[in-house]
């Protein structure tokens, strides 16, 4: 168990360290915060905190620095997620106002988040697995080539060209279009393949192989590929914190470029509805162990996720508030415009 004052000391250390990025000592601490006790007492508490692994000394006779565990404790014991200023709220709304399409919404969101937190922001496109089909359109662009366009309830439009092994005439295309729409409209994308399977037998035998192969391949690839769309912003902010990364920011930038890594991280969360914070070594990626990731879901049924990546020495309350607020606003905005 941890006593109240020790926690206060930890909070004060983190607060100062986040601000100055320098190890903080007992004397400076009591001067800057009204802890109501003497430096010596604080020293005792600090010794205890170090014993318990929440803080550490870079070298003997230097101040203390929070460890990952220290930040973790701090975040878990956060009393109040500080609300955003009304100026910030207005900024958020103004920023999202006037977005013209989904791409635009996502772009504005990610930039907003980067600007608000002065960190790297990442936004995942609304997952197609959780959105529903609004309409499917088939277009024969040439005798053996078909284009399929899927419009989802989240406003996303995906298209793909398919080379056919047999020629398909316009009437068949029209029939296929109608049938597919009847079967697929309103369904979750994940349900669509099954729905379509049950539809295949209704076609002339000669068309069937083409229909099956083409449509199912298409939908699979849609679901897969569309999962992996991410947008980043604010990578330049990383350079501001260059000193926080023992070696260089290079590995971090690398990891960010491999979007697979980020997608994994966004996906792995215990309680999807809450703001999730993963700190330093809690991230299962070697190159990111000097960073923390704050994420949240947005939209209905957690359609997508967004987050902020920064050095472990970050302003957690502020970042968490920003992430939560932006997720909320974007979710609302998406619902309105759909």
């Amino acid at each position: 168990m941890i006593e109240e004052r020790k926690l206060a000391v930890l909070r004060a250390i983190i607060q100062d360290y986040v601000e100055t990025s320098e190890p903080v000592g007992s004397k400076a601490l009591v001067e800057r915060h009204s802890l109501g006790v003497s430096p010596a007492t604080v020293r005792n508490d600090m010794a205890a905190l170090e014993e318990e692994g929440y803080i550490s000394q870079p070298h003997t006779s230097a101040g203390r620095v929070p460890t990952d565990a220290g930040y973790r404790m701090f975040v878990d014991r956060l009393t109040s997620v500080k609300p955003m200023s009304s100026a910030e709220r207005r900024a958020v709304q103004a920023f999202l106002e006037g977005a013209v399409d989904l791409d635009d919404i996502v772009l504005r969101t990610v930039r907003l988040l980067a600007q608000l937190t002065r960190q790297v922001a990442v936004v995942q496109y609304p997952s197609l697995t959780k959105s529903r089909v609004r309409h499917v359109e088939l277009v024969g662009v040439s005798p053996r080539r078909l284009m399929v366009v899927v419009i989802t309830t989240t406003g996303r439009v995906e298209q793909r060209l398919i080379d056919m092994t047999v020629e398909v005439d316009d009437d068949s295309v029209a029939q296929l279009r109608t049938t597919i729409n009847q079967a697929a409209s309103g369904r979750l994308l994940t349900e669509v393949p099954d729905a379509l399977d049950s539809v295949v037998p209704s076609f002339h035998a000669e068309l069937r192989p083409a229909v099956t192969a083409v449509v199912s391949t298409l939908l699979e690839s849609l679901v897969e590929e569309s999962e992996e769309r991410l947008v980043l912003a604010g990578t330049a902010n990383l350079a501001l914190f260059g000193a926080d990364f023992s070696t260089s920011i290079q590995p971090v930038l690398e990891a960010l470029e491999e979007q697979v890594v980020l997608l994994h991280l966004l996906g792995e969360v215990a309680v999807p509805s809450q703001v999730s914070v993963r700190i330093g070594h809690e991230l299962p990626v070697e190159r990111l162990t000097a960073t923390s990731l704050v994420t949240a879901s947005y939209g209905e049924e957690a359609a997508g996720r967004l987050g902020v990546l920064g050095p472990t020495r970050m302003d957690y309350p502020g970042t968490m508030a920003a992430v939560a607020a932006v997720a909320r606003y974007v979710g609302r905005y998406l619902e309105e415009s759909s």
Copy 2:
């Protein structure tokens, strides 16, 4: 005028400096290169080169460092653009092989370029102004909502939803589709608005306003917006050269995020068909004056541009070769697959 040997000395200085990133002195120079003269002679040449502004000393009694003008001279007087190794050629082909659609081609290209040059790579999507319409598809997704899909000869597919002021029935949509395709197929996107204007009178008066407004707005926005698509890769490579940037890589990363800046730079080139090299202060962007940009066009009629951004201390011959080769291969690949 510049004599042959002075040029050789400049070449040697640049070569060594690019390799070591340290000021290079006269003695080391004659040791590493067989210039056939003594250090003293080289010193005289170096003094002259400095006089002419091609090299400079960071401080008295240090070696020389090439200036922007030095790199410029070096690049202009390049005798041979060194060809890529056959291993590299194979890598290029293997990398592009198997791309499934335009997005994939662009993505693979930009990654390839980043990997080949160990620098930041940027690829602009093929410009729609220079590509032609292959097919236009109209879909009524709801009574007052129309989706338009444009497929271009460069393999690009753009779609947009349009809210209509009046209801349009399916027959009208079909008629519109046919007419538009007749008018637009095979034309440059820039010609399409005019072509469509001449088509409007053929519709019933009541439909006309909707047709005009919707279609022309659509096409305009298509041309505008599609111009501004860029893909980046290899930003992590910037961190490798952190020392080359006097302050930090932050301003560079910032500039990269503002895609407008890059688009401008890609657009401004004297001779579009050649590889263009802009060095340091030749770039009209303050934040990028510590970098050089090597660009080239690819595809028919210079459909798009691509390039590489790195510190002025870069391997120009190698980068130029890579940029030229990748541009050539991608151009070829696009033609084949269209």
